[in-house]
């Protein structure tokens, strides 16, 4: 069985320019995403977790071609989409766009403030179903109902809605043309705790009903635990651990994953939690350490870690780690 999404050695490097008056001189490059590989099967949820600047959002944006990947293959439904986007054949691009949708982090920014909700929801229909305008209104109503809003909300403007409701609209827009894969970029991190649970439930329910796969990007590990079937941990542009969610959460083997999990304060005072407090901070991507990028902060670092970068074996359903000295 071919995976729905198969990302192979995806990289996005940004050249760092030093501006001179008339010429730009390339000095170095930032490896925002480096050699990232993972797959998502139909109806599954893979979570991409990590701290800010680890490259999780860039990975998503590269898959969607919002930034052009420097290198690598993004195979979606069996086709490599990178050259399709590059050539820009509109019919083929639309074919991909329709099955691959994005839900944005900030529901305050992701809706056009001058459009009513109805107009916003009709946009994907206008693009992908131009020949049946008569059915648009019915579909908008259906979508609103699906995400727990009411039909008359179609006449309202985004500023009349709360954050949670706007995020529902964002989800409805992404679902409008029945995608196979939704990329969810921190969809609940700007929402209040009680609203967060509602949106997470909604996402789970939609997945059960429509069988859509999710690529869920988040730094909030508790929501990751809830929503996903698989999880991939990123550090400084690189995947360090990948596996089934329960496996990774109960038996983390990369030292970074362990520290990350233990850093989450558990809502239970006095919980006998072994707390690993990492020293130091994430180095800037411009000054990426040699060898394993995590070795300067790692308690179990060996001399080899500073020299040779550990590789993540292509995960074939199992539990993969990129570490010379796993826990």
């Amino acid at each position: 069985m071919t995976a729905l999404l198969d990302v192979e050695s995806l990289s996005k490097h940004y050249p760092v320019h030093q501006r001179r008056l008339f010429r730009a001189r390339i000095r170095s490059e930032i490896r925002a995403v480096h050699n990232v590989s993972f797959r998502i099967e139909e109806g599954q949820t893979l979570s991409l977790v990590g701290e800010s600047g680890c490259g999780k959002t860039t990975t998503a944006r590269a898959i969607l071609n919002l930034v052009e990947p420097t290198d690598g293959i993004v195979r979606f439904m069996g086709e490599d989409v990178v050259p399709i986007f590059r050539e820009g054949d509109r019919a083929r691009v639309l074919g991909i766009r329709r099955s691959l949708q994005y839900v944005f982090q900030d529901p305050w920014l992701s809706l056009n403030p001058r459009w009513t909700i109805g107009e916003t929801l009709k946009e994907p229909l206008r693009v992908h179903r131009p020949d049946e305008p008569a059915r648009w209104n019915a579909r908008v109503e259906e979508l609103l109902e699906m995400v727990g809003l009411e039909p008359h909300h179609a006449w309202r403007y985004p500023h009349e809605f709360s954050g949670g409701q706007r995020q529902r609209v964002g989800i409805a827009r992404a679902l409008a043309v029945e995608p196979k894969l939704l990329i969810l970029d921190e969809p609940v991190s700007s929402l209040d705790v009680s609203v967060r649970a509602q949106i997470l439930n909604l996402l789970a329910e939609i997945q059960d009903r429509l069988g859509v796969a999710y690529l869920y990007i988040s730094h909030d590990l508790s929501s990751v635990r809830f929503i996903s079937s698989h999880v991939a941990v990123m550090y400084l542009g690189k995947l360090v651990e990948i596996g089934a969610v329960d496996e990774v959460f109960t038996n983390p083997r990369h030292h970074y994953t362990r520290a990350l999990l233990s850093a989450i304060p558990v809502p239970e005072p006095g919980a006998a939690q072994t707390r690993i407090v990492l020293q130091g901070e994430v180095p800037s991507a411009m000054r990426r350490p040699t060898g394993c990028p995590f070795h300067p902060r790692c308690a179990a670092a060996l001399p080899v870690c500073a020299e040779i970068e550990p590789m993540l074996e292509p995960p074939s359903g199992g539990h993969g780690i990129a570490c010379h000295n796993p826990a």
Partner: protein, 347 residues
């Protein structure tokens, strides 16, 4: 080197009533074009010496506004409409602006949410920290700088002497927040007010900062008010917890009780609605988190009676009519809910 320690927030609740700060019936209203928003509507809480009070609530619950009102820092169009803020026996709401200015930063200090914007970008770290001491304690520049170096070392900044001449933009987010903490401690305040001190930080940095705050608090036996939306953070830090909803206090108890035996339906629902990292959700038993129906009320026109009644699973007809009064149901545990034996006043 990572250090491994076991949780430290097991300090026993200070039952001996020795309140350093007492907020009584505080009211803050926003006067907007559309009407009066009762952002804080009769809030009581107290902070004892050497304890950390966690104030938790969702956005719009009034947690931040009430803490700003304590320092008389609410911005227009908001106005403090009544109540008392007793700090070491003095009513801060009766102070003159000059008295308040002398008190802020010296006896009550603040740690802000966003370290990037709470430091002035055009002054060096040394300059803006020593200024506080020169202003409040009339210290000389030399004395002030010595103290700054001492404090920077204390908050875990390496090579503090050199950092003195650095500017905020040269520091990382975590470092900036450490500087922010050092700034709060400059004058040995008896109370530190921390408003979402780690929300803008990454989890591993958050863990470092929380550890630092817990350590400093224990060392100097200072009192702290920690305002946050993150239940995990209060669980880690707070001795006692006050839960706010829609401008009112739902429940106050020591941290253990809030998590193990919450009484107010809102506290219960809030705790239940959070997914947990130590629980598996996969498999057949998947996937509905308990939620709170509806959404927080519009405070322009709050519901009559208990603010939570229209979302409350246990609401009864009286909840519409009567406003519950915070009532002590066990030593150190007070709840405002008619179902839990609170008395009510007609709305």
């Amino acid at each position: 080197m990572p250090s491994t320690l076991v949780c430290a927030s097991d300090a026993p609740a200070m039952n001996t009533a020795d309140p350093l700060l007492e907020v009584r019936d505080l009211k803050v209203h926003f006067f907007t074009r559309d009407g009066v928003v009762r952002a804080v509507d009769g809030v009581d809480y107290s902070v004892n010496r050497a304890e950390t009070l966690g104030i938790v609530g969702e956005s719009g619950s009034g947690k931040t506004v009430s803490s700003l009102a304590m320092l008389r820092l609410v911005p227009p169009p908001a106005r403090t409409m009544g109540g008392q803020v007793l700090f070491e026996g003095e009513d801060l709401l009766a102070h003159t602006p000059k008295q308040m200015a002398a008190l802020r930063g010296r006896r009550i200090a603040m740690i802000f949410q966003n370290p990037a914007t709470s430091l002035n970008p055009i002054y060096s770290v040394g300059a803006q920290l020593s200024e506080i001491l020169m202003w409040h304690e009339k210290a000389s520049r030399r004395q002030a700088e010595e103290r700054v170096v001492e404090l920077l070392g204390l908050v875990g900044i390496s090579d503090p002497g050199a950092r003195l001449r650095q500017f905020p933009h040269e520091l990382s987010g975590g470092m900036k927040q450490r500087v922010g903490i050092a700034r709060a401690l400059m004058c040995n305040p008896s109370l530190v007010l921390a408003d979402e001190p780690t929300t803008a930080l990454d989890v591993t940095i958050q863990a470092q900062i929380l550890e630092l705050l817990a350590d400093l608090q224990a060392r100097f036996r200072m009192s702290m008010v920690l305002v946050t939306h993150d239940m995990g953070v209060v669980a880690r830090m707070a001795t006692r917890i006050t839960v706010m909803y829609a401008g009112r206090v739902c429940e106050t108890a020591d941290a253990g009780t809030i998590f193990s035996a919450p009484q107010h339906p809102y506290t219960r629902a809030l705790l239940d609605s959070m997914p947990r990292i130590d629980q598996s959700y996969s498999g057949s038993a998947r996937k509905t988190l308990p939620t709170i129906a509806g959404r927080p009320p519009n405070l322009l026109n709050p519901p009559p009676g208990c603010r939570f009644h229209d979302r409350c699973p246990e609401a009864m007809p009286e909840c519409r009519k009567m406003m519950p009064v915070e009532t002590t149901i066990a030593p150190g545990h007070s709840v405002s809910c008619l179902r839990r034996g609170s008395t009510g006043v007609a709305a």
